[in-house]
């Protein structure tokens, strides 16, 4: 029972990692570059919701949309500054740019929004469903549902729409995409915006779930998203989502077995171990 309880805790936390990882996977898949600004995108999404609630009242769904848009707009800036110019250049250049951008956004947020923790309104009145002694909050269910819905929607979007097809084409082969008449520049920009928007949504759920918004909240969140994305096999959306959940579960079971201070150790040891055994990630194909 106890084990099951911890497992459910892990799944709940993992679903947030999963959502963050999906956004990262879209960015990496389409742009093809590693970003360290993603955590700050998450933070920006969270702050946008915080101010949305103040300005327009507590409507979570509208806030999610607002957060998506804000994060996507920040994504445009990040794209112009960090990616567009460096698509053909050695990868480390844009990587350093994203590190600079992350520093910039974090400090800008500190100056603009203040460095103290801010709270989010409570949604669903803390209601929950009981299964024996285990309680799963409505919010947790909503988060899991949002993750599943977004994964499905995203998959459908990528599979069924023309834009989705463009994104997939660009993520597979930029040259061939240009040859069939896809505007690679615009498409990578759009892909990046979608990824960032998902990051923003994840940021809002993160903020609401833990009831806190901070300029420094992005750091570890971005790292976990990155890790889940790599474990999932670089840009695979379903893989990233599953890896996010796996990381969450491993962390929580690790805490259950040892000490709670070691949470991140579990995450990173898992990462290193898996990459050692399967260099292409959990769901990646060999030779990619």
């Amino acid at each position: 029972m106890y084990f099951l309880e911890q497992l459910i805790n892990g799944i709940c936390q993992g679903s947030i990692y999963a959502l963050m990882a999906i956004g990262y996977a879209v960015i990496y898949g389409v742009v093809g570059l590693v970003t360290f600004t993603y955590g700050e995108i998450i933070m920006m999404g969270s702050f946008s919701a915080f101010y949305y609630f103040i300005a327009f009242g507590n409507n979570l769904w509208m806030a999610l949309i607002a957060g998506f848009i804000t994060a996507a707009l920040v994504g445009v800036v990040v794209h112009k500054v960090c990616y567009q110019r460096f698509l053909d250049a050695p990868r480390y250049i844009s990587l350093i740019c994203t590190i600079g951008m992350s520093m910039f956004l974090k400090n800008l947020a500190t100056i603009l929004f203040g460095s103290e923790m801010k709270g989010m309104p409570t949604f669903f009145g803390g209601k929950f469903i009981s299964i024996g002694t285990i309680r799963v909050g409505y919010l947790q269910l909503i988060i899991i549902a949002v993750v599943i819905i977004l994964t499905v929607l995203l998959t459908i979007y990528l599979k069924k729409t023309r834009m989705g097809m463009r994104l997939r084409a660009v993520s597979q082969d930029k040259k061939a995409a240009a040859l069939v008449g896809i505007n690679v520049k615009t498409t990578t920009l759009i892909g990046n915006c979608i990824g960032c928007g998902l990051g923003g949504v994840a940021g809002i759920l993160l903020g609401v779930y833990y009831n806190s918004v901070l300029p420094t909240m992005g750091g570890m969140a971005g790292l976990k998203a990155f890790s889940a994305m790599v474990l999932g096999g670089l840009g695979s959306i379903v893989g990233s989502a599953i890896s996010g959940v796996i990381i969450g579960v491993v962390e929580n079971l690790g805490i259950a077995l040892t000490s709670s201070g070691l949470r991140d150790v579990f995450a990173f040891v898992l990462l290193v171990l898996i990459l050692f055994i399967r260099p292409q990630g959990l769901f990646g194909k060999k030779g990619n």
């Binding site: 590693v34 360290f36 500054v81 960090c82 110019r85 460096f86 053909d88 250049a89 050695p90 990868r91 480390y92 250049i93 844009s94 350093i96 740019c97 590190i99 600079g100 951008m101 520093m103 910039f104 974090k106 400090n107 800008l108 500190t110 100056i111 040259k175 750091g219 790292l223 990155f226 890790s227 790599v230 670089l234 000490s259 201070g261 070691l262 991140d264 150790v265 990173f268 040891v269 990462l271 290193v272 990459l275 050692f276 260099p279 990630g281």
Partner: protein, 337 residues
């Protein structure tokens, strides 16, 4: 302009080196203020750290973004063993060796990995090290850190005053750059560079990639460890918060701003980065904003770094492109990579 300076330098290398060294030795006599000296000592620390990272990233083309982990090991090794009464001078080297051994252990799994995967493993390693240092209280003092790290004695002087400690660090900086120079201009260094340029070609010439990558990681880790060990007695207190990922990113920025794959690059990088953060102290809250803008504008204006070969990236790009063309031409048959 930078290129002209570089040419002037290459033409009169020996004179410049001797003059530079003389100036460095004379420096503490010219600067009265301990605070300025302290900044200079810090720059010298980073020269070692950035150079050691440059050995890994710049010369063998691996991508290590968790360098802080190695620095941590060096610093903690010295701090822990110093409390057992080991002489500090010996510990500088011991710390380097311990870090090199850990570096080897990190290199083992990473030999199979490239690019982003390798980067992620080094990142994970760095965080694991920090968290272990934070949680293994019995050994590392955990969050209490280790305080009262003794300072080495040096011609009868208490050496942690910046004016004195400067010479110890300078000594190691010179040794670090000198050994790097010698190794790079040997079979080993050429093997590293061949791996960086084209590992398949290197393999086909009989270069044992695994062996040389491990040596490379060990050599870089050694100097990172020495750098970390040098810092511990100077600050007298260490805890895990001094070796975060951001610290690793900071070192990485120095290497890239200075110019990867050149010996001078990391030196220039650490000077420029440290001076900028110092100079913009008056900007208060916006200080790191300025630093962030500096990093980004450097990548826009001079992505090869201040000391990097001019046009190398552009040349690199077109050469890469021509290769791509050829590759695509041959892609029907050739799938080596």
């Amino acid at each position: 302009m930078i290129d002209r300076i570089k040419k002037l330098y290459t033409d009169n290398k020996t004179i410049f080196l001797i003059a530079g060294l003389a100036a460095m030795i004379a420096l503490p006599f010219l600067i009265v203020k301990g605070s300025v000296m302290s900044i200079i000592v810090k720059i010298l620390f980073y020269v070692i750290l950035a150079s050691s990272l440059n050995i890994i990233n710049g010369y063998s083309g691996q991508f290590n973004i968790g360098h802080a982990g190695f620095v941590l090991i060096g610093a903690y090794t010295l701090a822990i063993l110093a409390n057992f009464g080991w002489p500090i001078w010996v510990l500088y080297i011991v710390a380097g060796i311990v870090t090199a051994i850990i570096g080897f252990l990190v290199a083992l799994p990473t030999l199979r990995l490239r690019g982003i995967y390798l980067a992620l493993v080094t990142l994970g390693f760095s965080e694991i090290m920090r968290l272990v240092a934070l949680n293994w209280t019995a050994l590392t003092g955990g969050p209490m850190g280790i305080k009262g790290i003794p300072s080495p004695w040096f011609f009868g002087l208490r050496s942690t005053a910046p004016h004195n400690y400067y010479y110890i660090v300078l000594f190691f900086v010179v040794i670090c750059l000198f050994t790097s120079y010698r190794v790079i201009n040997s079979k080993v260094g050429r093997a590293w560079m061949s791996i960086r340029e084209d590992d398949h070609a290197a393999m086909s010439l009989g270069v044992d990639i695994r062996k040389y990558k491990s040596i490379n990681f060990m050599f870089g880790a050694f100097w990172a460890g020495v750098g970390g060990a040098l810092m511990a007695p100077f600050y007298k207190f260490i805890d895990s918060s001094m070796f975060t990922l951001d610290e690793g990113f900071n070192i990485l920025s120095m290497v890239i701003i200075g110019g990867q794959g050149t010996l001078v690059g990391p030196v220039v990088g650490s000077v420029v980065v440290n001076l900028t953060t110092e100079i913009f102290r008056f900007a208060d809250e916006a200080r790191l904003l300025v630093y962030a803008v500096l990093i980004i504008s450097m990548m826009w204006l001079r992505p090869q770094g201040l000391a990097g070969t001019s046009k190398s990236v552009i040349a690199n790009r077109s050469i890469r492109k021509s290769k791509q063309v050829l590759l695509s031409k041959l892609s029907g048959k050739k799938e080596v990579k």
